[in-house]
Symmetry: C2
Subunit: 217 residues, 2 copies
């Protein structure tokens, strides 16, 4: 059955892979499923046709026959539960990998988004300079805890899983800020994620999609 995602017709990051369709593309590449992408403009995103498939007017969405899903975390989990490659077979390890998926979106991503949103949407606000250190401190606190837990392991809990896919995707938002650089093991962790052939294919696909330029040969 054909799988169709929605993505920004032109991602605000210009193809740096930070839009949330990249996570889903990555998961699809890891499990080896082909997919189509339907571009949606910022305007169309807030119109009834798109709101019918995504109640919050965002991307990505996932369509597979009659099934329509939204939220990148749930789409990645849907793929991971049905195809080999993103969750361990062992039930306890599987449950722990899902804990890391939720940790990525509910513990790490909120302070990272607050920090990133401030830098984008609040840069001209009178409180910007005064509040940024607080937002930054919250991110540093979480990074420090994550770095301690990861230690010198390659991945968060045994083999690469959907938990790592989501965590690396969330951490990638921080690269431009330099905040990751305090934790060399997290820098290496993110680099291991990016080095996966499935990530490379996903990144290249979104880059070509957003820039209109095919991959260099």
């Amino acid at each position: 059955m054909t799988i169709t995602l929605t993505a920004f017709d032109r991602s605000p990051d210009g193809g740096k892979g930070l839009a949330r369709d990249t996570r889903v593309r990555w998961a699809l590449e890891e499990v080896g499923l082909p997919y189509d992408v339907r571009p949606v403009s910022f305007r169309a995103m807030k119109e009834p046709a798109h709101l019918a498939i995504h109640p919050f007017g965002q991307i990505p969405t996932y369509e597979e026959g009659d099934l329509v899903l939204f939220e990148s975390g749930s789409i990645v989990l849907h793929l991971a539960e049905r195809h080999a490659g993103l969750l361990p077979d062992d039930a306890p390890a599987r449950a722990r990998a899902i804990s890391w998926m939720f940790a990525a979106v509910n513990t790490m991503e909120p302070p990272i988004l607050d920090f990133a949103n401030m830098r984008i949407q609040e840069r001209d606000k009178p409180w910007y300079e005064a509040r940024l250190p607080l937002a930054e401190e919250r991110v540093r606190g979480r990074l420090s805890q994550l770095s301690t837990r990861l230690g010198d392991a390659d991945w968060l809990d045994g083999a690469f899983s959907a938990g790592d896919l989501m965590m690396v995707s969330v951490l990638l938002r921080l690269r431009a800020s330099g905040l990751l650089d305090d934790a060399p093991n997290l820098v290496a962790y993110v680099a291991r994620g990016e080095a996966r052939p499935a990530y490379q294919r996903a990144f290249e696909a979104q880059r070509a999609f957003n820039t209109g330029q095919p991959a260099p040969r």
Copy 2:
């Protein structure tokens, strides 16, 4: 096998049910499983013994034999996948319910937490009065979209599910602010959640735990 949760030894809300162990207690009550609770102090939460089971030094955690999980969303999902009562049997409906779980923790909760955290942690900051309306506006935007999607339905997608359990739990954080009152259908939705006998039992258990006072007879 005995299930053991961790919870604040004294919840910062004094037993109003806003700490995240309430969500897990609610899920356990919905599926009819008994559980024990181990209190953890703020100090102990940041010490190695607790960090070994929760890398971010928070509550709740979930222990069931050798299995240790953290993140309320993943614990609720773990219970919902293994016991009847929190996810539909139909596979597409099940995947959609899980989308709502992720929407609760990754789309609704971050702006709600930013708003709630400002009111608690940033009240004495020089930017508080100036920035609060922005944080409030972000919450209102999400509430408006959620209210539109819910319409006059009882629950977000057919029968009550773990998606509703998580969404109601997230929305409950807003009650004191009055922000919910703009959307009478969301007020009624939250009230339907609270009226469930399983929620009542969970709420009463955390109240008694946090206040040291048994339930009135």
